[in-house]
């Protein structure tokens, strides 16, 4: 039977009474706190006993102290004199236990205790939450801006959705932690001034667990839906890199502590190292993607020179080809497909282009198919795509194109529109709506009814 166990309790940093109750319950069930490690709280098996725990805050302590300072040792001696034995510490938070029945508490002045909690909070926890909050606001705003500009792109990408979800959750979590702390502190100060009592603390454990569960669900959903092996590999490499950096930083910090390096040097190296390794990881990911090793797309089958440019030729399995609609004897086409998907919708960007030198004689084809899997987002996507097409034809801010309804039956669709330049000149660009699919199509040739029929058959329903 194991004599030590590791637990991962979730407590707000100032939840003094919550932590005390938790530790007293654990001791009552035969598990005594041994230490607070980087990965969980370590408990040692003991005889079940009634023990009093006291959590107190020592603002001068630091997570980077190589060993307890003289001041901390003096503090410990004061506590020992009244029967309180040091159990563990986590940066400024110090935990003591006392086996006497009714010991004098370590803190007998609520105002002084609140002052110490606040000094400790300002030293470590609050700055961390403010950093999360600032990042959360910036990323949530960026996500919101992307959502407003191109909701179809956001909705068709699990990576985009997960990224947005994570930052919104981080924003909510940091806001709730900061808000809960200041709300408790305001009440605690009032009560301490009025009658000298310490107001019980609490943690938003349920909310934090909910956020963690949502993030893990989102992450597993995102990973499981990735069809692109390179993207999958890049994502796993990133997750692995973040984990490795975290472990490395903790390892370095612990080594520096063992080497008795001062807290300021340890803190500088740890923070500096975290930032440096974070930058190295980001640059590596960008390099991997840019170099093509972890390409988020697909590989060309060949390339050719055109002037100073190197043109890539693809042979991706696009769902509709010009050959499906007309006889073609040309064999230098490039078929390119970009696919992204989420649990809400999928997006297929397809291009069929001839060799550049033949582009005047040989027709090309471009289309985007949005396949909606979650019907409530259909109208939102449809409206935005409609607006975006019109916005793409502007002159000095004036929209110079119109989308004029055409007979959808040839397309086998429920609605179809054709782009007209200034309402008079028809262009070979269409927007077609199917029950689940939305298609934007651009051709070089005028489409016949038969062509439209083929388009409907190929792109109107499930196109996998």
């Amino acid at each position: 039977m194991k004599d030590t166990k590791r637990f991962f309790p979730i407590f707000a940093f100032y939840d003094r009474t919550g932590i005390e109750n938790y530790l007293e319950e654990k001791a009552g069930s035969g598990w005594m706190l041994e230490k607070i490690a980087n990965f969980g709280w370590v408990f040692r098996r003991c005889e079940p006993k009634k023990v009093n725990f006291a959590v107190t805050y020592f603002p001068k302590a630091s997570a980077f102290d190589p060993e307890p300072t003289e001041e901390q040792l003096t503090f410990n001696e004061f506590c020992e004199h009244t029967g309180w034995i040091f159990a563990a510490q986590n940066a400024q938070m110090q935990i003591y236990y006392n086996e006497s029945e009714n010991p004098t508490p370590i803190e007998t002045d609520a105002l002084i205790e609140l002052e110490n909690i606040h000094k400790s909070a300002k030293k470590s926890h609050l700055p961390t939450y403010y950093i999360f909050l600032t990042n959360g606001i910036l990323h949530a705003l960026t996500f919101f801006q992307r959502w407003v500009n191109d909701p179809a792109d956001v909705l068709t990408s699990n990576v985009n959705l997960f990224n947005g979800l994570c930052w919104i959750l981080i924003l909510m979590m940091s806001l709730s932690e900061i808000g809960a702390y200041y709300s408790w502190r305001r009440k605690a100060l009032r009560v301490a001034k009025d009658n000298g009592e310490f107001v019980r603390t609490s943690s938003c454990q349920g909310f934090q667990l909910f956020i963690l569960a949502v993030m893990l669900t989102g992450l597993s959903l995102m990973i499981s839906s990735l069809h692109n092996a390179a993207l999958f590999g890049t994502l796993i490499a990133m997750l692995f890199g973040i984990t490795a950096i975290t472990i490395l930083i903790i390892f370095i910090s612990n080594c520096l502590k063992k080497m008795k390096v001062s807290k300021s040097v340890n803190g500088f190296i740890t923070f500096g190292g975290s930032i440096l390794l974070g930058i190295i990881l980001s640059v590596s990911v960008v390099y991997i993607i840019a170099s093509g090793t972890g390409s988020l797309g697909h590989d060309p089958v060949s390339t050719y020179e055109f002037g100073i440019f190197e043109i890539e030729v693809y042979d991706d399995p696009i769902p509709l080809k010009i050959e499906d609609m007309q006889e073609v004897s040309y064999d230098r086409y490039s078929y390119e497909l970009w696919h992204q998907s989420s649990f809400l919708a999928e997006k297929y960007d397809c291009v069929q282009e001839p060799h550049i030198s033949d582009s005047d004689e040989v027709p090309s084809l471009r289309y985007t198919v949005y396949e909606v899997k979650f019907s409530p987002v259909y109208n939102l996507m449809a409206e935005k795509i409609f607006e975006d097409i019109l916005d793409s034809y502007t002159n000095d801010g004036e929209i110079i194109a119109s989308l004029i309804p055409v007979d959808p039956t040839d397309f086998l669709a429920k609605d179809a529109y054709r782009v007209y330049y200034r309402e008079t000149e028809p262009m070979n660009r269409y927007l077609v709506f199917y029950p689940n699919n939305i298609i934007i199509l651009r051709t070089d040739n005028e489409l016949s009814s038969k062509d439209m029929n083929v388009i409907g058959q190929k792109l109107g329903a499930d196109i996998k």
């Binding site: 004061f78 506590c79 004098t104 370590i106 105002l111």
Partner: protein, 104 residues
Amino acid sequence: MPREKFKTLTEQMFYILLCLKEECCGMDILDRVPEMTNGRVNVGSGTLYNLLEQFLAEEMIRETKVEGRKRSYIITPKGSDRLREEYDRITAQASDYEKLFGGK
């Protein structure tokens, strides 16, 4: 901040300063306060540690001796004045009470 805090002394502050009429260390204070008050007032070790620091910062007490981690203190004239003011405040309160309700 601390000046405002010590405008009125709490019971714990009062008895800590009272103990320091004579030179003593922190642990002596932890024992003496309950003795002086028949257990009515207890000072927590954490509270005492913080108050000693604050009294030192306010020059209401001074350090007299350092033996290892054991530090001894004694009240300063400034601390004595504050203690006297507190005494006057408390006796004024007692006197006002007695005027209305009589003594024991």
